[in-house]
Assembly symmetry: C2
Homo-oligomer: 272 residues x 2
């Protein structure tokens, strides 16, 4: 029988999910049915949420776990009336932080919308556009404006990593795929030479590469293990010979690839 875990917030629910998932991941033997209830920002919605939680407890035969990041105290008090086991983030940490900072918290929902929000928004949009415009080697004439240029064989994770860096951190990330034509030698493709300092290589286990490519083009030469092994071997030799910083993406999520690149290259975020 699965146990239900609720992530409850008066905002997006992203913090409650991140925290809840981190904690629940420590209990690998237990299966959870995860439900996010975002924008619980009125008394009515809170009452409804309590009902949903209590129903799940009856269905499961055991009380749900609630990760609560609701800021508003009145709403939180209603959530607290449910039968669930509650991890109440603001109750646990906000009072002690107030003491430490010698300041009262505003108990306001979501991030502060300062005058800088519009700039932050535009930085994100510009970075997303940059990633799309400079995806897959489509254009190379804007590499001078890139913060980073990812390179590697087709399907090793370049595009989602670039987009993640753009959306989360406002980083201008381009990517250049190394194709058969580039892989006849271990020198860099000519177009990349002037930007060597911005280059970061991605590599991947050939078996995984083959299985990813197989989803895209089943039974093609492109997806064959032979082809994948050949490409990966040459690319890794090129990375070593050119002394390019690089990582193997096989066991990493997109978040991990992106944050490792940022840490390793010391990239500055435009947004935070």
């Amino acid at each position: 029988m699965k146990r239900t875990a609720f992530f409850i917030s008066d905002g997006t629910g992203i913090t409650a999910e991140a925290l809840g998932n981190s904690l629940l991941a420590q209990f690998g033997s237990i299966q959870f049915n995860k439900v996010t209830l975002p924008y619980i920002d009125t008394i009515e919605k809170a009452v409804e949420a309590v009902d949903t939680i209590d129903q799940a407890g009856i269905t499961d035969g055991q009380r749900p776990i609630v990760f609560d990041t609701v800021v508003d105290e009145a709403t939180r008090e209603i959530i607290a009336t449910s039968t669930a086991y509650k991890i109440d983030v603001f109750s646990a940490f906000l009072k002690p932080l107030e003491l430490e900072l010698g300041s009262h918290s505003s108990y306001s929902v979501g991030k502060s919308h300062s005058i800088n929000e519009i700039n932050r928004y535009m930085d994100r949009i510009e970075s997303v556009n940059f990633a799309i415009d400079n995806d897959d080697g489509a254009r190379t004439q804007h590499y001078d404006k890139a913060d980073i240029i990812l390179t590697g064989v087709s399907r090793c994770g370049k595009t989602p990593s670039c987009l993640y860096m753009a959306l989360q951190f406002g980083i201008r990330a381009a990517n250049y795929p190394l194709t058969d034509a580039d892989l006849t030698q271990t020198t860099l493709p000519e177009v990349l030479i002037p930007f060597k300092d911005k280059l970061f290589g991605l590599t991947i286990d050939p078996f995984q590469l083959a299985s990813i490519r197989h989803e895209r083009r089943p039974n093609s030469r492109y997806a064959s293990l032979d082809q994948c092994e050949d490409e990966v071997r040459v690319v890794e030799r090129m990375f070593r010979k050119q002394k390019l910083p690089h990582i193997n993406t096989t066991h990493f999520s997109i978040e991990e690839i992106a944050t490792r690149i940022i840490a390793q290259m010391g990239l500055k975020r435009r947004i935070s």
Copy 2:
């Protein structure tokens, strides 16, 4: 004088940042210098981190705030020796959760890498590819495969919202921009009619639209307030007349736009 806040993790640091930013946003009057220290996964790195933290305290003249999501206890004990004020997430919540769940936690870093991870990875990649391939009305022949189709005037936030839904939730999101040709009437563009159930409208304050467009094409008719006012007026009339669900994105972050669409449309996530 700014006070320094550290987000420390043996993984990506994303949970520590989400939690820390939520809590610090409650203290709008205090300026923080925020530093993320990810992948603190050895004794050596922990010792180095303590040094960095203590140095910041000396420079600032007040002790830093540390948001610690390190799972490994030995590492966390070293972080605990710093002079900072610490919010230690796993210490606060993991022991009580163990009791509640009647199970020992594995104290392992990051998300569990189950056999499903490769499927999750491919779902994300496929969704990102879908969003790119079906961006900006470039192609419309795959709308039958879309989970959602965003529509609205140029620069109202469609592309980043689609990519965010793809990356975070594995949702297949297409977007179709409404251009002058579409805005001579309040009927839907013909290509959208068969997919009315998947349509979601974005609108925006004309002043903000003009300032966003101005960044892209300064002093153009496209960016003029008159043009933006006209387009927004017609689009909003179309949304109402066609009874399309829609939101005004002016005061929302990309996370908020995406999560509100998901909640309002009841979209199912492919990944979580």
